[in-house]
Amino acid sequence: MHSSALRNTWIICKHECFKRVRTRSFLITTFLMPGFLAFVIGIPAVVGAHANHDNQRIVLACAREDLAALIRDGLIDSATNSYHVTIDNDVSPAEHQRLESELDDGRIDGVIWIDADSIEKGRATYERRTARDFIWQQLVRNSVSGGFNRMRMAQSGLSPTQIKDMLRGADVDIRISGVKPGDASRDAAAIITVLLLATVLFITLLSYGVMIMRSVLDEKASRVIEVLLCSATPDELMAGKILGVGAVGLLQVVTWGTMGLAIAAPRSTLPMAGHVVPLSLMIYFGIFYLLGYLLYSAMFAAVGAAFNSTDEAQHWNFVIISPLICACTLITPVAAAPNSTLAVIASLVPFCSPVLMYTRLAVESPPAWQIVLCFAILIGTIYVVQRIATRIYRIGILMYGKRPSVREMFKWLSYA
């Protein structure tokens, strides 16, 4: 690149970067957005935690006292929250009716009903007021089933020590190949964090791409582009703009990351704690952000140049973001089965790979050849897309008036 071209690109890059960094909207999104997100994510967590500590009143109506005690012990041992379990040895139909009416009136929250017939058939009933609290339902199932097992074992003559010994089970220590035992990076909290980062990747690629498109449309509408073109080439303008806006995005992401680490570091139990996301994943995040940004920003710049208004560009805008949305919807299935055929293929498709290969890297260690192939395809695609986008940009920024057709845009490729 010629030195004056580099100089012009640098001037445009600085201008695009500083122009945005000094705005109120940048400061708001950079410093208040994490707080807002924490609020949005935190509210359900707080509500959920609060719900778990509700004072739930459960009546355990059981025909056998020993079985009732075993089930209650199971419930109390397993539950970390405040459930009040009351044992009722009356299992007459009248009592059943009374309990049902109390349940309807809201005086109690649930009834576990085990009459003599139930004991014989090994079948209990759990009636509750609402369908919420799935964890508690599972707990009831396990405790009732465990209580029945213990009762049967005791009936067959085993002592409580023998029963306890038989039901001790075994711990399963799950290890992932290539990861040191005790490394916390692949635990549930870490996976949630990297999935969150993959989502941040999607949001930033989308929002900064759209920002570029709007900026080009604005320059075209205000005719600033004509003055700029008198001093700089379209290629210099496009490169400067992409780099400048990209730097703003990177600055914002780094600021968010630093804020997250600073807030989470003293609280080792939080998933955002520094040791949870290894440095390698942070580096991958930076690389995929840059590559994804270079790919999408060029397309958004070309669309901005080709059309006259946001409304006109909307259709193409959707075409561009479709693969990105597709990648976003695949984050969870790919994370759940990172070696499935779907995950491997989707993570190699260049328009999805910045999000999906990152997701795979976060939850497992894909074969090296797949990572190399992903980068090779992605970089090759960036090169081709940038070339096409630059040609459309060169012609499009000087075209005013009617909306160009796809055929016309193909023609532009031959003009440059």
Partner: protein
């Protein structure tokens, strides 16, 4: 020395030919008017001069050399519509455009301040462009075109949006630039301004040059077949008179083109029969008359 030279330049967009075999040259220190109706090819010609687009055929030469981007540091461009970032300040706009034209940030600020004082917008330098009136924005645009002291200044409708006082200030600056030996190209529809300021013109229509040369020679070549008449009363004599080739009648004032060989005194007598004449002047044609005449002929 020739500052700008277009030689048989052609530019088409698909089937539409915007500029067709256009040739003209602008000498150093000249004020040159590029005239023509809408869609005549003026903007495409200017864009080829400043390298925004490349000609399909022909050659563009700046400062005696084939066009190269390095020449653009010697070119200032004022587009017809305001080409400024509206959300940033005047100073930031001028520093950006100055830097792209090869100035350092410090030089750009110093020169911007000097020009802002000269054009009486110094108090607006730290305001956002969107807060300014159209006329003031035009002044900023004017400064942006002159900031790097270019040898060639290309101006598309430079007086649009300016009140008569500010138009006069700008006119003085343009004449000063001419005295300094700068070359100035106007692209405009405002014939009165061109007539007062330009040394030479090129009239383009449908991408082709239909008339060009030194303004004085162009007007002289049209002879003295043009008459201005100020009158009161019935103006229908103009339509009836066989001496009149064409006329532009405003109700109590008319610009008349006589038929070749017609006697202007005979027209005066005919006019006096139908109306009271307060002024009758035989003169060279105005540029507007030439413009209309040529464009109508070319379109016929």
């Amino acid at each position: 020395m020739v500052t700008v030279e277009l030689e048989r330049v052609r530019k088409s967009y698909g089937k539409f030919v915007a500029v067709d075999d256009l040739s003209f040259s602008i000498s150093a220190g000249q004020i040159f008017g590029l005239l023509g109706p809408n869609g005549a090819g003026k903007t495409s010609s200017i864009r080829m001069m400043i390298g925004i687009i490349t000609p399909d055929a022909g050659a563009v030469r700046l400062f005696g050399e084939p066009f190269a981007r390095r020449h653009l540091h010697q070119v200032g461009y004022l587009p017809e519509e305001r080409g400024l970032y509206r959300k940033i300040t005047v100073r930031e706009n001028l520093v950006l455009l100055g830097q792209l034209s090869g100035l350092t940030s410090r030089d750009a600020i110093a020169r911007a301040r000097k020009w802002a004082e000269r054009l009486d917008i110094a108090q607006w330098v730290d305001k956002r462009v969107e807060e300014m009136s159209k006329g003031m924005q035009q002044k900023v645009q004017f400064i942006a075109a002159l900031l790097h002291e270019p040898q060639l200044i290309i101006m598309d409708e430079p007086f649009s949006g300016l009140d008569p006082i500010n138009a006069n200030v700008l006119k003085d600056v343009i004449l000063e630039l001419k005295e300094q030996g700068r070359t100035i190209l106007f692209s405009t529809h405002r014939m009165d301004q061109v007539e007062k300021l330009c040394d030479a013109i090129c009239l383009v229509n449908r991408g082709r040059a239909v008339l060009q040369g030194a303004l004085r020679e162009v007007k002289a070549s049209y002879g003295s077949r043009f008459v201005q008449i100020a009158y009161e009363g019935d103006g229908r004599f103009l339509a009836r008179c066989a001496l009149v080739e064409s006329s532009n009648n405003y109700g109590n004032y008319a610009e008349v083109k006589l038929r070749p060989g017609a006697d202007s005194q005979a027209l005066l007598q005919a006019a006096m029969c139908g109306a009271k004449i307060s002024r009758f002047e035989v003169m060279e044609p105005s540029l507007e008359q030439i413009f209309i005449d040529r464009v109508e002929k070319a379109s016929a």
